[in-house]
């Protein structure tokens, strides 16, 4: 056990920090600027670092990927774009795609020449994703897709979508699903923004009416879609953990500063014993998340995959984020609810997970999403209970019979 970084990692961190100092844009106004920033990161070798070299990656170690993400968080650097291309679609193609698919798609994902979205969730298939009903019907030389997807992040700008669709309604539901790469720029695909409680629209709804998917764009074999989705969910989770904590720490320091300025019962809130207890607890929880991230990184560095252990990480940080933001709201009072007209000292100077909206209100509202997306806390607890603790599955009515 040695939790010091190696000299090599320290040197690499310094190199990344210096590069960011010289190359990081101050503010990003629109998608074109974000794409330009994305390309600069790619050209510097800081994107898709873990991908194989032959497809434009760096074949880098997990620690190097974590350091880049961590330094970007530390500097408050804008996020690159095409997150689902790099995080989900690309890795899926790397592992399950044909040679032709790899050559055709991977490099353009990295350069953000082609933007991707993930077409998984449906209005009636959320936690129960395998209940999805979007149908892909074999028309000889192609598949014809009809159905509705929801919670499609980045859908409005996407050129391509990684699609799960039902190809066989007669078999049990987990077995009739196939994975496809679908062109989003076609007549049968209608993308509508979905306005969230944040007032913003990072997500979309996607309506497919007889949309066309070429046979060559099937990923894996017919009926293999569920297992493919299982192996590629949460690919990047481990590598981002450290950066996430660094972002929390930056937010926390700003919260403490606010607690020094704001007053309650005639004295600064930071001197209030109860608030101090809560601040102490959140910092402890935050650091424990960091220790956990170092544990995960140790596994990744040894070539092990956390597997279902990733569910513990996800459950822990997403629930923590809610507690953290609730404390922030408690300390900031109505300042914590401002979406506009925020006095400079109560702005949140940090690039959030999704965009660069600098308000506590936005970060607070977003904290409610973390325990729902990518498998709700309840689903994570089922995974932990069944796959790690080996507890019996509950009696389920949907493991037998066909699914129409």
């Amino acid at each position: 056990m040695d939790l010091n970084y190696t000299a090599e990692d320290v040197a690499f961190r310094k190199q990344v920090r210096t590069w960011l100092e010289h190359n990081m844009p101050r503010h990003i106004q629109n998608l074109d600027e974000r794409r330009a920033w994305h390309r600069r990161l790619y050209e510097a070798g800081y994107l898709g670092m873990g991908w194989p070299r032959e497809y434009g990656g760096q074949g880098a170690r997990p620690m190097e990927q974590a350091i880049v993400a961590d330094e970007m968080a530390r500097a408050g650097a804008p996020a690159p774009t095409n997150g689902l291309g790099i995080g989900i679609a690309g890795p899926t193609i790397v592992v399950h795609g044909t040679d032709a698919q790899k050559r055709r798609y991977l490099r353009k994902i990295l350069t953000a020449e082609e933007m991707w979205c993930q077409l998984y969730s449906e209005p009636n298939a959320g936690s129960d994703l395998a209940a999805l009903r979007t149908a892909a019907v074999d028309r000889g030389d192609h598949f014809e897709v009809t159905g509705q997807k929801i919670w499609t992040s980045g859908g409005a700008n996407a050129d391509w979508g990684l699609l799960l669709a039902r190809t066989d309604p007669a078999v049990p539901k987990h077995k009739g699903i196939t994975c496809f790469l679908m062109n989003m720029r076609q007549g049968g695909v209608d993308v509508r923004p979905l306005k969230q409680i944040t007032g913003s629209s990072e997500f979309c709804e996607v309506f497919m009416t007889g949309a066309r998917v070429e046979k060559e764009n099937m990923v894996g074999r017919l009926g293999e879609g569920w297992s493919i989705a299982q192996t590629t969910l949460g690919y990047e989770r481990g590598g981002r953990a450290l950066a996430r904590v660094t972002t929390y720490a930056s937010q926390y320091r700003q919260l403490v500063d606010a607690a020094r300025r704001l007053k309650r019962n005639g004295r600064p809130i930071v001197d209030d014993a109860i608030t101090r207890q809560k601040l102490g607890r959140v910092w402890a929880d935050l650091e424990v998340e960091r220790y956990g991230a170092l544990r995960t990184l140790t596994m990744l560095e040894r070539g092990e995959h956390p597997g279902a252990g990733g569910s513990i990480t996800k459950l822990s940080y997403s629930e923590f984020e809610k507690r953290f933001m609730e404390l922030a709201e408690e300390i900031l009072g109505p300042y914590g609810q401002l979406t506009d007209g925020v006095p400079p000292e109560y702005r949140l100077e940090v690039d959030t997970a999704i965009g660069d909206h600098g308000t506590w209100a936005y970060a607070f509202l977003w904290s409610r999403a973390g325990t729902i997306y990518a498998g709700s806390s309840e689903i994570q607890k089922n995974v932990i209970g069944e796959r790690i603790l080996g507890l019996p599955k509950e009696a389920r009515a949907d493991r037998v019979g066909g699914h129409r």
Partner: protein, 374 residues
């Protein structure tokens, strides 16, 4: 960066577990509840032979020269076994205290004796007001001839009734000082304080003008503050390791029970109400593991954030162990509330350590002072 145990550390853990599985069964723990001394000498000498009693001491004093990660591993296992005996009191409170603050002669007198199983020790860090801040010490030390006379009341002194020497903080004219006290000496009264965890014995130590010789002073008069701060942090982290072990045991028993207990015609582990609770317990155990071993490493390595990590560890694990062990009773239902079933042994071990060496609230305040500088 490597947050995993070395081969030697894994071997150590396995050998401690094997020895305790064999010699510290639940039946042994129960037998010791009614034992006047509360522990078995045979096991104590076995632990000396296995090198556990001198684990953190330098080799020249009969020790193994290992660090706090290894010590945490041992206590993690002892928590898992609800080991009854003065190991923590002797090796951590007395042993590390002497190692941190003692003179060459004091170390030479006590550390080899501890390592070989000849001596037991403890430290009296708490008084009636329960403030863990060493500067709150009210007991007094006045000069008397070449030596000192100590007066005051210490509470919750672990295993003082079997200790050969107790480290006692007291306020001298020069300031906070530390003394070696023979609990069987004149002017010293040791009275049992019986808590819910009968495997973790406490005493009140009453000093009424108790005379100690000049060489009982540990470190310079008035200079005990830093030693006590350091000792408290180490004790907090190692006690957290013991709570972690107890919590892990409670989780294991709960999962095991949920796989065999049937109600409504089904195994209760198939109910989300039970499964989700067990999943939360595992999350708390894993987070506690990270907190304990990070802090143990940081203290050993002298990392910049070592003091902070110790407070983070104790505050986090105190809360987590309470939740995990309490939830374990809930998962078990009625049987978990019976004396006959073993769960309460581990529940009580975690509970008895929760308020010691700084409770969660004490350490959270230290965390915030560390962040805000005030």
């Amino acid at each position: 960066m490597n947050f995993s145990f070395s081969e030697d550390q894994v071997l150590l853990r396995n050998s401690v577990r094997a020895a305790l599985d064999e010699q510290c069964t639940a039946a042994h723990v129960r037998a010791m509840m009614d034992d006047e001394r509360g522990y078995r000498e045979e096991l104590w000498h076995e632990m000396a032979k296995l090198g556990w009693l001198g684990l953190p001491f330098p080799e020249e004093q009969g020790g193994a020269g290992l660090g706090l990660v290894e010590l945490a591993l041992v206590l993690d296992e002892m928590g898992r076994a609800a080991y009854p005996g003065p190991y923590f009191a002797t090796v951590v409170l007395g042993g590390l205290g002497l190692q941190l603050g003692g003179s060459a002669a004091q170390k030479e007198r006590w550390l080899p004796a501890i390592a070989s199983g000849q001596a037991r020790a403890s430290a009296a860090l708490l008084e009636d007001g329960l403030d863990w801040d060493p500067s709150a010490t009210a007991a007094t030390a006045t000069r008397a001839g070449d030596g000192w006379r100590l007066s005051g009341v210490k509470r919750f002194v672990p295993w003082a009734h079997v200790a050969d020497v107790v480290l006692v903080p007291a306020r001298a004219p020069e300031g906070l000082s530390l003394f070696l006290v023979d609990p069987r000496g004149a002017g010293v009264t040791v009275t049992p304080m019986v808590g819910i965890d009968l495997g973790n014995r406490w005493s009140e130590l009453r000093l009424a003008d108790a005379a100690v010789p000049a060489d009982a002073l540990v470190g310079p008069a008035g200079g005990a503050g830093p030693v006590l701060d350091t000792l408290l942090r180490r004790a907090a982290v190692i006690a957290s390791a013991e709570m972690l072990g107890a919590a892990r045991r409670c989780l294991d028993m709960s999962v095991g029970y949920a796989k065999v207990r049937e109600q409504f015609g089904q195994l209760i582990g198939s109910f989300q109400a039970i499964r989700h609770r067990c999943a939360e317990m595992l999350m708390e155990v894993e987070n506690s593991h990270a907190a304990v071993y990070y802090a143990a490493w940081a203290l050993t390595a002298g990392a910049e954030d070592a003091a902070m990590a110790a407070s983070i560890c104790k505050s986090y694990v105190s809360d987590a162990a309470r939740k995990v062990c309490g939830d374990a009773i809930q998962v078990h239902g009625g049987i978990g509330f019976t004396w006959e079933y073993d769960l309460h042994l581990y529940f009580k071990r975690a509970k008895s350590l929760e308020p010691l060496y700084g409770d969660a609230a004490y350490h959270r305040e230290l965390i915030v002072r560390g962040i805000t500088g005030a």
